[in-house]
């Protein structure tokens, strides 16, 4: 399968990349891992005249801890890197787990967090994980810079608020409060190279190991045109003592937030049942993780 012709640029600085983007606008695409973009170009879904590579720009592939208040993740950090990062596994668990379920090792070694967010596929692994961690995305153009909460970033399948002259330059997530645990569950027909039938990311914060729940965030993927937060289920959980019964009820409420479709991966009815089951299961896992929290 052949790629259409294009011109290729490898700017050595961020400024140069942003200048190129502002000059070429809609006719250019940014390439990092290429595992989505090159496939779409081979299938002739996209035909950009120019590709701008992030490969030579220093710093975009770094995970940096910000003292005690958060972590900054560069857009060119690979899924493989995210999945084995100790800080992410410990404090930002859903991101590390979701990254470890994306594609297969040969894909994870190239695919990046920036690409997974910007491509905005409804079933993508990392968007729900970033949503429950309250991540903020920094978008930069040659003349401007803005920060967008990840929950306001997605507009529809493949659609985001990013402008053609903007680049996603970093992802920031604040460190969750003490006694927080997180989980990510992906359901597909097989364990690798799979697109989610349903996925769910969860963060649960306890006041102390004895409870009660003081914060909860639930985000679901592949259940609507964009990943969605199950706000009603979150509100239900806050103030309650954690128990299997409470988690099961949250799952039932979570289904109400979703509008899944029927397709070759699963029917609407099956997806609804799975949202319920997986939400309560993810809450239970997050709860168990919260109990192991260490300063």
């Amino acid at each position: 399968m052949l790629l259409p012709r294009f011109d290729y640029y490898e700017p050595a600085t961020l400024e140069e990349a942003l200048r190129l983007l502002s000059e070429m606008g809609g006719n250019a695409r940014v390439i990092a891992g290429g595992t989505d973009l090159l496939v779409r170009m081979k299938l002739k879904v996209e035909k950009p005249g120019y590709l701008i590579s992030l490969r030579k720009i220093p710093g975009l592939d770094a995970i940096v801890r910000r003292e005690n208040h958060g972590v900054t993740i560069g857009p060119a950090v690979t899924a493989a890197e995210l999945s084995r990062n100790e800080l992410l596994l410990d404090r930002f668990t859903p991101i590390a787990l979701a990254a470890g379920r994306l594609g297969a090792p040969v894909v994870r070694n190239r695919a990046t967090i920036g690409g997974n967010l910007v491509n905005a596929r409804p079933a993508a692994d990392l968007p729900p994980a970033c949503m429950v961690l309250d991540a903020t995305l920094k978008l930069k153009s040659f003349s401007n810079e803005r920060e967008i909460p990840v929950g306001e970033f997605f507009r529809g399948p493949g659609q985001t608020v990013i402008e053609p002259n903007e680049l996603l330059v970093s992802i920031f997530a604040p460190i969750p409060a003490p006694w927080t645990g997180g989980a990510y569950i992906k359901l597909g027909a097989r364990k690798a190279l799979e697109i989610s039938m349903v996925n769910v990311a969860v963060i649960l914060t306890l006041q102390s190991p004895q409870g009660p729940i003081i914060d909860a965030k639930i985000a679901l993927g592949a259940v609507a045109p964009t990943p969605v937060r199950a706000f009603a289920a979150e509100e239900f959980l806050i103030g309650r003592q954690p128990s299997d019964d409470v988690f099961a009820q949250a799952g039932v409420i979570g289904v109400g937030m979703c509008e899944p479709i029927t397709d070759h991966r699963g029917t609407m009815e099956y997806r609804c049942l799975m949202i319920e089951t997986l939400t309560s299961r993810a809450l239970r896992q997050a709860y168990e993780k919260a109990l192991t929290w260490k300063p």
Binding site: G33, R55, P105, V106, L193
Partner: protein, 160 residues
């Protein structure tokens, strides 16, 4: 317009002019004649084109040749030493993990990337490491056994 790239392939310095839309697998096969790397689906689904790029197994159909500028590439041709098969290659033969052979280079390179990082992998780690490589003949059991055996051979060799 073609651009000049410099990279190391199987330990040898290579300099070549490539078109931007040329993938690494096309460059290896068509320009260098290294046809051990197979071109399967071209979409990152089958893993037949797996090579090791800077120590990590990747689908070479989803890497532009130009993106490999300055990188270190290992293909199946670079595994044998002095005419002796690499323990992974030998184990694939011994264990009957090869039938048509089309997936074998990719399987072996994914396995090599695993063993370089984890010399003593569990069965689950082996299965995960080759989860991006599809085989349509043998089933995966013999492949997993071969990788396990090769891991033992390599460990024994390094101890002695």
């Amino acid at each position: 317009m073609k651009k000049t790239i410099q990279l190391t392939i199987n330990g040898q310095q290579v300099q070549a002019a490539v078109a931007p839309n040329q993938t690494l697998v096309q460059f290896l096969r068509d320009d260098l004649g290294l046809t051990g790397t197979k071109h399967g689906c071209g979409l990152g689904d089958c893993g037949a084109c797996t090579v090791i790029l800077d120590g990590r197994a990747v689908n070479s159909c989803l890497v532009l040749a130009i993106q490999a500028d300055g990188c270190d590439v290992l293909t199946i041709e670079g595994l044998a030493e002095d005419g002796n098969l690499h323990p992974l290659q030998q184990a694939f033969v011994d264990k009957g993990a090869i039938q048509c052979g089309f997936c074998s280079p990719g399987m072996i390179l994914s396995a090599k990337a695993l063993l370089d990082e984890k010399p003593n992998p569990t069965e689950l780690e082996i299965r995960t490491a080759i989860s991006g490589n599809l085989c349509r003949c043998t089933g995966y059991q013999k492949i997993v056994e071969a990788i396990n055996e090769a891991a033992e051979v390599i460990r024994d060799r390094e101890e002695s």
